[in-house]
Symmetry: none
Subunit: 231 residues, 4 copies
Amino acid sequence: MKDAPDDDGGEDRGALARRPRRGERRVQQRQRILDAARTVFFRDGFMPANLDEVAQRAGVAKGTLYRYFENKAELYVAVLSANGDAFERKMRDALEPGLSPAEQVRRTSRFYFQHWTAHREYFRIFWALENEPVIGELPEPVVAQVTALWEQCLRLLADVLERGAQGGAFAPHDSWEVANILWTLANGLIQSEEAPAAKRLRRTPLERVFEDAVELVLRGLEPAPPASRAR
Amino acid sequence: MKDAPDDDGGEDRGALARRPRRGERRVQQRQRILDAARTVFFRDGFMPANLDEVAQRAGVAKGTLYRYFENKAELYVAVLSANGDAFERKMRDALEPGLSPAEQVRRTSRFYFQHWTAHREYFRIFWALENEPVIGELPEPVVAQVTALWEQCLRLLADVLERGAQGGAFAPHDSWEVANILWTLANGLIQSEEAPAAKRLRRTPLERVFEDAVELVLRGLEPAPPASRAR
Amino acid sequence: MKDAPDDDGGEDRGALARRPRRGERRVQQRQRILDAARTVFFRDGFMPANLDEVAQRAGVAKGTLYRYFENKAELYVAVLSANGDAFERKMRDALEPGLSPAEQVRRTSRFYFQHWTAHREYFRIFWALENEPVIGELPEPVVAQVTALWEQCLRLLADVLERGAQGGAFAPHDSWEVANILWTLANGLIQSEEAPAAKRLRRTPLERVFEDAVELVLRGLEPAPPASRAR
Amino acid sequence: MKDAPDDDGGEDRGALARRPRRGERRVQQRQRILDAARTVFFRDGFMPANLDEVAQRAGVAKGTLYRYFENKAELYVAVLSANGDAFERKMRDALEPGLSPAEQVRRTSRFYFQHWTAHREYFRIFWALENEPVIGELPEPVVAQVTALWEQCLRLLADVLERGAQGGAFAPHDSWEVANILWTLANGLIQSEEAPAAKRLRRTPLERVFEDAVELVLRGLEPAPPASRAR
DNA sequence: TATGAATGAGGATTCATTCAT
DNA sequence: TATGAATGAATCCTCATTCAT
């Protein structure tokens, strides 16, 4: 609309015009849809989710959804990937250079856990990726994007492990492989929090399990004590 | 209709070829349906699975399914149940009483891995449970069924760990929790083999990773050497 | 809005580059839309044609279409009209007054065939009309439009035939009827070129069939030789 | 409901049981659907036709349609091809061996016209074939079947022409080509009866035009009179 | 008991048209 | 005048479940 603000009356109205710009409006609407979709998708899951309800909750017509997202699957993915971008940066920040390798592993995993606590939904994208057969072919860019993110995180972790091994803090090991193991473990535990069957079987709070698991692995990585091991 | 003459009474019917008894036949048919259902459910998951195909594969009419199972969910439960029972039994057999606790853990996990290799589809059951966000809420009986199976397996593992701890083979630990960790790890690794993104990032063959992960945990469980730890 | 300053009044605005007048611009834009619409309508037919694509190809917003044409049907009519006018004119030009009637018929049909070769899509218009059973009832204005064009062409042909009959070049006949027959034949042959079933059965190149058909009809129109026919 | 009277009492009721057999019932229902579909398709055309209405008119549920026909296109084709099988046989019967070739051509075309009068709808299948882009890929068997029928008819006609040429009744000509021309002409004329634009332009009853067209072609096929032509 | 025909709610998606800016 | 976001009716098709035979 009138791309150039009316500023009718002529007086300057501070930083931002009252009336939202074209693009702004579009962004807001998109967000409204995403919010509604998140609610519905997270409550019902992908397949049972009803786009009618999404539209209704977003306060838009059904057809409007399709002006923002190609189809149901894309909307789902969009819901999942929202907010995803900041993740890797934060994870990197969690690593403080001065700390011992073991402590850095702890920090990383603690960050991971906390991030999950704050953004549970976000993590579902990992699940989504593993469910292509159910939700349909995901757009390649999405797969690529998540894979890349994943790889960066693994790399971060692997570097820490590698440095630990080089410095003698850890026993020698294949750091990429162990990073994978840690990663898998962390994701598995988190995922199990949302899986009803697994959750039902837990007797210790997840956070505690999470820490213990990391500790267990760290202990497994401790360098063999010269005497006792050499025996 | 009236296809099979009543042979109630059970007396021998002489020359006539061995016609299966009423009950027998019913059992066989039920099994045929279960087999067909397993194939389809394991391939497609709960919601996308199509009962038309199940009936066709079983060689019965669709209506017949409902003479054996109340509805789709119950059929699913029956599939899980039938297979779960066999699974738990085999897993139990994998544990040989005479072996060391560590070795028993190795055996168990090796069995798990091999069983997965041989029956990949079967394991999708576990994911089904973890995929509620994607496939929608599963009927309670289904969840209960799998939870029960899962619990039995965890119990098996926890017992081994517990005995190891009691016997001094392992450091003291919460055996149920560690069993959960191992279980999560194993499932996570297997699952990652089928997820395109995760698989892309692996550089070591899964079997190797699997063994290394178990070894890592076992090392983490080793009792603290008196000297170094006691310090 | 207000995008283009009013230059009503029409006076020359000096140095400023030759900006097209209001009306001019409007005419150009209308033409752009018509061109885009022709492409799409001729390729897809009336109902399957998508106005989104028309707008896109024309390089205007979808809403703009409605500033030039009331609705889809009227746009279709306009397309038919624009092209029909050009067609009838060219067909008229193909008739050279000096030639014999038979030769004029040949010319006409040759023109028709060549025009089809060059603008295959254009001819789909005729089929659109004959395809109401498939595409559904067309809006009356559309039918009227095409009927008018068709009538003009038939009239041209009928006049040639009539003059031929009057001049003794052809046997007496109902020239309007024969014009219809020729027209039907020509359209049928052309149409059959695009129909997979019919085309499969042809063994002679269409152009040849076309000429032979005309020749056949012309021979049928030859005046009875006084002797043999008079018997 | 209670459709079939109880035939309690058990006595033999002559040749046919009152209660329709399984297959019978299915055939009847299929027919009901076809009837309803014909009404709707012929009134609205393929694309605008609404399967909801078809189901309603047939007195069945929407889903039932899909038990008899894969999809809309197949139902349409089925409507068109119903009754088609007897056609070629009848056409063959129309040819009486004793008649002159010209007379046989007249007979054939007259039969064709009458058959069309009686079964207008049937002929639409020819149109349908030419509209694949609109109604979607037709099942190959249908295309093949119609092509085959078409070929047989052309062959019949071509044989008559060929014999006529051999016997001196017709001037030498490519009989397959002329058969195609006649066929195209006949179909074009018939089709034009259903096309509103073409129909509006007709001033002579179609039957008359049909006969005249045939006569015109026959005259065009007459052998050249030795004297007058040789000149 | 087995059948399979029938059901009908349910859901994703399209697209001509409107209208506020 | 042009835009393009929004609309929402329209429609094909799926499939778990029922039920008369």
